[in-house]
């Protein structure tokens, strides 16, 4: 850059600035600025032309005023004029003003672009550089549009100077970051790679940054860069530090370039070519060796530069994860840093070690540093470093050292910083569970966890303890004893009371033999905590009391007294009051047999992934390393099983409240696939006895019916459920007053289960919208989905096993949608059952316009799920994603069949097998209008048969489902009961799955 001569100092500007600095008050400053602005305006207005110098001076003043925070609304023209000046300083000020002040919608933009274009084409390298810097500084989309094609040309042109190439590479990098779609990839890409061989190190550094970014976008195009990068790296590493003159920084040869090259190599797997690979290993080794050498300077810059290269090399080694010796050496090197007095180094070492711990080669090596890490945890002054130490301990934990690590973390927890307590608690809970050989140890650990940091123990942690205690017979007695002892502390955390209430309620009998923990003592202990607890905990304790009545008949009187007291029976909280009333009645009326059945011990929970782990993952986001890869895999396998079981239970519809005991019987078997370890035949057995007595318990049962059926949680798979479908069930559902909490735990787990499998998904998938789904069961046209931006309309027609659907996407905004795409996704079983062919749609949708997409559908065999339409587009720069369930249901392929009464009954009898018939009794959601019902049945696809059923108010329909493979005949009968506002729907088809699906679909409509 040409030096600014003294005469160019712009005295006027200096005077103005010093005036402003000397102003005594804000007002004085504003006055001075106003005066100056008026002066500049009169100068710019003046009829005589200004010379370049004064123009530059005034533009500079405007710039200064703008930077002080005042609006500048003139002078742009003068600045643009400066661009065409031949003097460097004037041009520079012009560019400066434009990069700071010009916004894209200005009418001057074409003039500016013209100026830039001229400079880019000029032969003067400084002018080209100025233009490139301006493009990079503004970096707007418009700039990218105008110049993205020119810059690569400058970059690879043979006659460009080094400094120009450097600027061009960085400018292109900037444009690539702001609008990657506009930077064209072409033949120049191959030549860019060869810039790595350039003589000038500055060019290489700039080019490496560019290539790294581009390589992340399209790795294949830049594969050749690997060998060049390795060659370049080895030249730097092996060179004597004096070779690189300007690029030696405190005795380290080109540290920035080295770091960038190492980072570039991290975009690719280890090189396959043996020679290159050997050379790279050699480089990495020599970097590691250099770390061992005594420092050449005591300056902090020297060690910083050296360590920067070293850490980048270590992350490359970790990334490759293929050279055991290097990994171990890296680990040892990091181990040295663990005791370094520089805090930043310790932090970085801990962080890198965390990733090293997950590699199978270096896991053992990392483990040798356990003592250092523990001492770091205890003595480190900086909380962020301690946090890393916790992470590392978690990562290095395995079966051999779990006891030590958990103990250390527990002991540290007492003094831990509040910000990291919750995380430590979660980690301890996970490690304790994962590596528990001996479950008494597990119980001890978790209880001390709750005791020490109760506030930080999330719900999931104590849910998990209970799940494990219930599933493990061997630990139950011990758990009861420990909990009992823990509860004796004068002040317990509420979570401990919850665990205590639950476990004593279930297994209190196991320790009742001891006089010190007799039933009455247990009860009094629990009840002493009762009044200090929140409502959900009290509800849980009430359930524990009723369980006590079952376990220990001798305390029945005491407990009934408690339940009878006004503070329970007339509690202001509805939940507590209902529990008290119901439990009291139950304990008074039911015989011991019934009590024993109703209040039976909890059945084991299905094995599933620890919900705590899910929570930790959610907390930390992606990238939580798990210590043991194999364990992880195993866990995943188990999860899927647990999860699918669960899905079934969730889909089992909550039965509507039964009208009588008899109805309950018929309704109850529907959700047979609930995850219960009891077989279905034995399921009926315990049910019958409470039911028979239920009719005698009329006050209770009628009361129970008032309780909403919705409170039935899917988890509540216990014997109590059949007694009253009211809230009392959730004793077994982990004692949550509303099913949402209990349910959410499960749903959480469920949703997290699949997430890792689709691990690559960067953005969370949008929730699938299916609000309008059920409206389309009986009709084919209408609006499927609508939000502020988009409206989706449908028109569809079906014939036999084929269908065609027209999807209309209406843009409700005034701006266009870019990159619009809509694709249909069929999940696994559906994929083979339904063929959907979508014609590709236009990628842009203009504002206010409508886009049509046609789907051709073929039904191969009967199916249950519905396909999902994934839509994504760019609106105003942000990517919008949405997913809508397409209303393609099985009944769309139902063709009506007319038949007379005789035929109908003949076929009805033919389909008499129990699995072929599905019956459902449900409450009407709409008014029971005959005509509407008829229209719905016809819309559903069946022929409405008149005069078949002896009762004229009943509806009878028939039809055939056409699929590619088979045809399935369907008969249906709908019996309305207007008085009770109920329907009974019976479906008989030749396939049980079809019956079930059609029944579900149709019953939803009434």
């Amino acid at each position: 850059m040409p030096a600014v001569s003294k005469g160019d100092g712009m005295r006027g500007l200096a005077v103005f600035i010093s005036d402003i600095r000397n102003c005594k008050s804000k007002e004085a400053e504003i006055k001075r600025i106003n005066k100056e602005l008026a002066n500049i305006r009169s100068k710019f207005k003046g009829d005589k032309a200004l010379d370049g110098y004064s123009k530059k001076k005034y533009v500079c003043k405007l710039l200064f005023i703008f930077l002080l925070g005042h609006d500048i609304d003139f002078g742009h023209m003068e600045a643009v004029n400066l661009l065409s000046s031949n003097k460097y300083t004037e041009k520079q000020i012009g560019y400066l003003f434009i990069s700071v002040l010009v916004n894209s919608n200005s009418d001057l933009i074409s003039l500016i672009n013209n100026g830039i274009k001229n400079d880019l084409a000029s032969r003067n390298p400084t002018f080209i550089n100025l233009a490139l810097h301006c493009i990079a500084n503004v970096g707007s989309r418009e700039m990218a549009e105008a110049f993205a094609a020119d810059i690569p040309r400058i970059l690879v042109a043979g006659d460009s100077m080094d400094s120009v190439k450097q600027s061009a590479a960085l400018c292109l990098l900037r444009l690539n970051r702001t609008s990657p779609d506009l930077v064209p990839m072409g033949e120049w890409t191959a030549r860019v790679v060869h810039l790595l061989n350039d003589q000038h190190l500055g060019v290489v550094t700039a080019a490496t940054s560019l290539i790294t970014t581009l390589a992340q976008k399209s790795p294949d195009d830049f594969k050749t860069s690997v060998s060049l990068a390795v060659a370049r790296l080895s030249r730097i590493v092996t060179s004597a530090s004096t070779d690189l003159q300007d690029y030696t920084y405190y005795f380290v040869a080109a540290p920035w370039l080295s770091v960038k090259l190492l980072r570039l190599l991290q975009c690719y797997p280890p090189p396959e070519d043996g020679a290159i690979r050997a050379r790279l290993v050699e480089c990495l080794e020599s970097i590691l060796n250099k770390a061992q050498e005594p420092p050449k300077s005591k300056k902090v810059q020297h060690s910083n530069a050296k360590n920067a290269v070293l850490f980048e090399a270590i992350s490359l080694i970790i990334h490759h994860d293929s050279e055991p010796t290097l990994l171990v050496r890296a680990c040892n090197q990091l181990g040295q840093f663990l005791q370094h007095r520089e805090t930043n180094l310790r932090y970085l070492a801990l962080e890198s070690m965390c990733t090293l711990a997950s590699s199978e080669f270096s896991h053992e090596a990392v483990k040798t540093h356990i003592e250092t890490v523990i001492s770091a945890l205890k003595t480190e002054r900086d909380v962020s470093v301690r946090q890393r130490a916790v992470d590392l301990l978690y990562a290095m934990c395995d079966r051999s050292n779990s006891k030590q690590i958990v103990a250390e973390m527990l002991s540290y927890l007492e003094t831990a910083d509040y910000s990291i307590r919750e995380e430590i608690v979660l980690k301890v809970a996970i490690l304790a569970e994962k590596y528990a050989v001996d479950y008494t140890w597990y119980v001890d650990t978790i209880l001390s966890l709750i005791r020490m940091a109760g506030d930080y123990v999330s719900e999931e942690v104590w849910y998990r303890v209970i799940q494990i205690v219930i599933n493990r017979d061997d630990v139950q007695g011990y758990a009861a004893k420990t909990v009992f002892e823990a509860l004796q502390a004068p002040a317990c955390h509420e979570n401990l009371v919850k665990v205590g209430g639950y476990i004593l309620g279930e297994f209190g009998n196991l320790i009742a033999g001891d006089a010190r923990s007799s039933p009455l003592v247990q009860f009094n202990l629990l009840h002493s905590k009762f009044h200090l607890c929140s409502v959900p905990t009290r509800a849980l304790l009430l359930s524990a009391y009723i369980k006590f009545i079952n376990l220990f008949p001798e305390v029945k009187g005491t407990i009934q007294e408690v339940l009878k007291s006004d503070s329970q029976l007339r509690n202001a909280d509805v939940e507590l009051q209902q529990r008290a009333v119901e439990y009291l009645r139950l304990s008074c009326i039911a015989s011991t047999d019934i009590l024993a059945t109703v209040l039976e011990e909890m059945p084991p929970f299905p094995e599933r992934e620890s919900s705590i782990l899910a929570k930790l993952k959610r907390k930390k986001g992606p990238g939580v390393t798990l210590p043991d890869l194999e364990d992880q895999r195993k866990e995943r396998g188990a999860n899927v099983n647990g999860g699918s079981e669960h899905g079934a239970s969730n889909s089992a519809a909550t039965p509507s409240p039964p009208e009588s005991a008899a109805d309950l019987l018929t309704a109850a078997p529907t959700p047979t696939n609930r995850p219960r370890p009891v077989s279905s035949s034995s399921l009926l057995q315990p049910m019958l006895s409470p039911l028979s007595c239920l009719s005698s318990l009329s006050p209770l049962s009628s009361f129970a019916h008032q309780g909403t059926a919705a409170t039935m949680s899917a988890t509540a798979a216990g014997p109590l459920f059949q007694v009253s479908p009211s809230t009392s069930t959730d004793l077994l559902g982990l004692a949550s007053p509303a099913p949402s909490t209990g349910g959410s735990l499960l749903v959480d787990v469920f949703s997290e289960l699949h997430a890792p499998e689709q691990a690559s998904a960067e953005a969370p998938a949008p929730p699938v919208a299916d609000d309008n789904f059920s409206r389309f069961v009986c009709k084919n046209n209408g609006v499927l989905y609508e939000n502020q931006l988009l409206q989706i309309g449908l028109k569809s027609e079906y014939r036999q096993n084929l269908g065609r659907m027209y999807v209309f996407f209406g843009n409700k905004t005034s701006t266009q949608f870019l990159n619009f795409s809509a694709s249909v996704l069929c999940q696994e079983p559906l994929h083979s059952q339904l063929n959907i062919h979508a014609k590709p749609a236009d990628p842009t949708v203009e504002g206010g316009a409508q886009l049509q997409q046609t789907l051709n559908i073929e039904c191969v065999s009967d199916f249950v799920d519905a396909p999902v339409l994934n839509i994504q587009f760019r609106y105003g720069g942000t990517l919008q994603k949405m997913a809508v369930k397409l209303p393609i249901t099985l009944n769309k392929f139902l063709q009506p069949t007319e038949m007379v009464s005789q035929d109908f009954f003949q076929r009805w009898k033919q389909l008499g097998a129990p699995q072929q018939e599905v019956q459902k009794i449900f409450k009407s959601k709409h008014s029971m209008d005959t005509e509407v019902t008829k229209a719905k049945i016809i819309g559903f696809g069946a022929a409405l048969l008149d005069g078949v059923d002896p009762n004229p108010s009943n509806f009878v329909g028939a039809g055939v489902i056409h699929t590619k493979t088979t045809q399935v005949g369907c008969l249906l009968r709908l019996e309305p009961n207007t008085q009770a506002q109920m329907y009974r729907l019976t479906l008989r088809t030749s396939r049980d799955t079809v019956s079930q699906r059609l029944c579900d679909l149709l019953s939803d409509q009434f």
Binding site: K24, R32, L37, A38, S42, D73, F74, L108
Partner: protein, 439 residues
Amino acid sequence: MIGGLFIYNHKGEVLISRVYRDDIGRNAVDAFRVNVIHARQQVRSPVNNIARTSFFHVKRSNIWLAAVTKQNVNAAMVFEFLYKMCDVMAAYFGKISEENIKNNFVLIYELLDEILDFGYPQNSETGALKTFITQQGIKSQTKEEQSQITSQVTGQIGWRREGIKYRRNELFLDVLESVNLLMSPQGQVLSAHVSGRVVMKSYLSGMPECKFGMNDKIVIDKQGKGGATDEAAKSELGGSGKQSIAIDDCTFHQCVRLSKFDSERSISFIPPDGDYELMRYRTTKDIILPFRVIPLVREVGRTKLEVKVVIKSNFKPSLLAQKIEVRIPTPLNTSGVQVICMKGKAKYKASENAIVWKIKRMAGMKESQISAEIELLPTNDKKKWARPPISMNFEVPFAPSGLKVRYLKVFEPKLNYSDHDVIKWVRYIGRSGIYETRC
């Protein structure tokens, strides 16, 4: 309950810091500086709440006075105190400036100790304060003098000491009014009010009892009903000019007996010695507007603006208005101005973005005119110029509210001078407050 009081210079350096209560920490000083004085955006609100602490500030030239409290105090009380504090300081050392404050900081601390006790305002009457807070150092006072001070400060009449003697009993009374106006371009009054003060300076011997009378509408009406005949009332109605004014609200100096004002609406008091403000009042009805401004703005294309402003004086031709200044705002992209005026001097002041037209003197019932051509620089901004109102400053020798002093009687039963022996001076001054006309 003021927690503390700080005085800053324009740079935000603390000149005076006095903390009265423990709930105000040292960091409160910095909080105000950072959040108000050095705020990025100019802070306009005089009350600021920063971290549960309230800061009330006033600005005198370049000096900031801030009262700080953590309690929910009466904000009006705090501002009244701050104004009083300014008056007291001005009475002691003249203009409030950084230099004066630095030179008198011992005195200021002494004053602050006296007029605020644990955050509660105490006697802030300058006359009384001057008797025991002096700059002359400690004079050896006799026991008598000391006890006199004590009895005065703790007694019923804290604002006047006993035994004052003057050879000439004199009394000065100024009615100072400021008239505020906002007028539409068509000459319609959008809002107008007068806020006035009756300021007195008394040099009277002994403990005189004074009675002040003015043409308050309620008093006049009462008298009209009570004693005067119908004819008198009629003559009042028929007479030129109004005889009584409607006062919207008024406040009095502490020396005025409020009970008497409430029952008889008569203003009687034992005056402090020296300067004081007897009362403050506000009227909104029947205001005499001394000047009328008629603006005419014409935009000629995008680069030119023609402005013509006529002012008309609207009072008796025998009276003379002074210090007249008309301020015509110019657009922000003004690049040049040509002004022609018949009277006075007019100049374009770029630093204030306005044309300032000054006239030294102008008699009543006259009119004068200015015309200006403003050249504009075309800008890329599409924002239209907001046309701020034309404002005006002046001083006229009458009370725009119509207030008249009817009498001011002095009784001193113990000493041998009567009402007639007192020399009384009365003066009316009407000034402009915010006197604006939209254009």
